[in-house]
């Protein structure tokens, strides 16, 4: 990661979370976490929801943790990601529609902090 992208990433997670771009960043992060969980095959572990262990024996809580991680990531992906994307669009539309009262700073918006 370059210094420039690091700075952009930090800004996105910080004050700029309350911006259309920031909301999209959060959507991308959640999607990334879910897709990683899915690619790692954690969906199989959700069988613990039915009280069935993915392997014989119930000595380990490991499957419960993995299933919990997958379930949270899945519902975040299915419910939160579209909401964040839609919210970003609404936020952007409102910003473009409303007249700006303050002239934008010249360099990267750092002064808005």
């Amino acid at each position: 990661m370059t210094a420039k992208s690091k700075s952009w990433f930090r800004r996105s997670l910080g004050w700029s979370s309350f911006s259309p771009g920031g909301l999209l960043i959060w959507a991308a992060i959640i999607a990334g976490v879910f897709l990683s969980c899915h690619a790692a095959g954690l969906r199989e572990y959700t069988t613990v929801i039915s009280g069935t262990w993915p392997t014989e024996g119930r000595s380990s809580v490991f499957p419960v943790v993995l299933a919990g991680l997958y379930v949270v990531a899945y519902f975040a992906f299915v419910l939160l990601v579209p909401i964040l994307v839609l919210a970003s669009a609404v936020f952007l539309a409102v910003q473009l529609a409303l007249p700006s009262k303050k002239k934008a700073p010249a360099a990267g918006g750092a002064s808005a902090r």
Binding site: S16, I83, L86
Partner: protein, 411 residues
């Protein structure tokens, strides 16, 4: 796009020109609007193409995919032991019920697709023979939960109608698909024992566990008896009429009109109406009293069936009665009261009673929260297990077997 417009959009994206307080307020309002738009729409992305699940004559594609996995592990002893071993660790009943629902599903598939009948018969026979062998070698406790040992059966020598009823149903379903002389005597003897044990109780209900007579098991037994009558020309209509009469008088919950889930040997209500019992009970009653079956389904749907934002589910208990969350109900979702077991069996009942609207909403929920996984053409729902998948499979292929019994064309 002009440079000015691009800059304007870029600034709007980062919202750098907006004071923090206003940005927070705008973000909150935007999130609220987005939530109000998205949540009512989510179900649209999970709604099933009903033709993938419902086919009045052939076998729907999703059923083929579900069956492929079951047939694969019943054809591979190693895989079979592994798969069933996972469930037995939680509940040996699931192993047994998974067999029953799979046999019922395969029998229906054989009736729907006569060209593949031999393949289904071979699988059915493997399941039945394995079940009979295990029952014979290890006794009834092999398929029952441990609390069996905590009491003594009122009827002696001990028999469980849970075991007898479902084995009889498997034998009957197999013979409805194609006669097998070796199974004829087995079914006749099983029916004789069931009727004998049921008659001993003042409410004509036999025990599945010590002093626990489950409506699920007794209605399964009635369905099996009815099938045996069709197959072998016997007549238990008086007995069945007697059961229905006593059930309507003594086994119905006065607040909901639903059959209670379980009673004691003498007919005292032990557990009130439960979703994990009533849906299957209503389905089985279709073979012995269509009107009563429909009444129970309608009441169960009113008391237990729910829909939220296009997603259907079923509660385990009606609002007027709450039981303990247990292995039958599965983990009940707080606030909604949604029970995976009740919802899965509601799928079966909705299909059996041709309630397409409720079926579609239940399937939507299944696709949303059941975590379907298709691999090499074989489908499973990860959030469930083998018995759950067998119930779903049966739900989407049922019909021809019950129809054949109703028409009395067993022989």
């Amino acid at each position: 796009m002009s440079e000015g417009a691009a800059n304007s959009i870029s600034r709007a994206f980062s919202a750098t020109s907006v004071p923090l307080g206003r940005r927070v307020a705008l973000a909150a309002v935007s999130l609220l609007i987005a939530t109000c738009v998205w949540i009512p729409c989510v179900h649209l992305f999970f709604a099933p193409h009903l033709q993938d699940y419902v086919d009045t004559k052939g076998i729907p594609p999703e059923a083929r995919a579900l069956a492929r996995r079951h047939l694969a592990f019943w054809g591979d002893p190693q895989l079979h032991v592994e798969e069933l071993g996972k469930m037995r660790g939680s509940n040996p009943e699931w192993d047994f019920m998974g067999r029953t629902f799979l046999v019922l599903a395969l029998a229906n598939m054989g009736l729907r697709q006569p060209a593949a009948k031999e393949q289904y018969l071979a699988a059915i026979d493997r399941i039945i023979d394995d079940t009979l062998r295990l029952e014979s070698e290890k006794g009834i406790s092999f398929f029952l939960m441990d609390y069996l040992r905590g009491g003594v059966f009122v009827s002696q020598p001990p028999r469980s109608l849970f075991i007898d009823g479902e084995i009889a149903l498997m034998l009957g379903a197999r013979r409805m698909l194609a006669e097998k002389p070796e199974y004829r005597q087995l079914l006749t003897e099983r029916v004789r024992l069931m009727v004998e044990y049921m008659r001993r109780s003042p409410v004509l209900s036999a025990e599945s566990y010590p002093n626990e007579c489950w409506t699920f098991c007794n209605t399964v037994a009635l369905a099996a008896i009815r099938i045996a009558d069709v197959l072998d020309g016997t007549d238990h209509s008086d007995f069945i009429a007697g059961w229905l009469d006593v059930a309507k008088r003594r086994l119905v919950d006065p607040r909901t009109g639903l059959l209670v889930a379980a009673c004691t040997f003498d007919g005292s209500h032990k557990y009130g109406p439960e979703g994990s019992s009533i849906w299957m009970a209503a389905h089985c009653l279709q073979l012995v009293d269509e009107e009563f079956a429909r009444d129970q389904y309608d009441r169960a749907k009113k008391e237990l069936g729910r829909s939220v934002f296009g997603f259907g589910y079923a509660r385990e208990w009606p609002a007027s009665w709450t039981g303990p969350m247990d292995v039958d109900s599965g983990p009940v979702v707080p606030i909604l009261g949604a029970s995976p077991a009740s919802s899965g069996l509601a799928l079966l009942a909705a299909s059996a009673f041709e309630d397409r609207a409720f079926l579609s909403r239940l399937l939507t929920s299944l696709r949303f929260a059941g975590f379907p996984l298709e691999r090499n053409g074989a489908l499973k729902f990860c959030a469930g297990n083998q018995v759950g998948d067998a119930v779903i499979l049966y739900s989407i292929v049922l019909g021809p077997l019950w129809q054949k019994v109703r028409e009395g064309v067993g022989r």
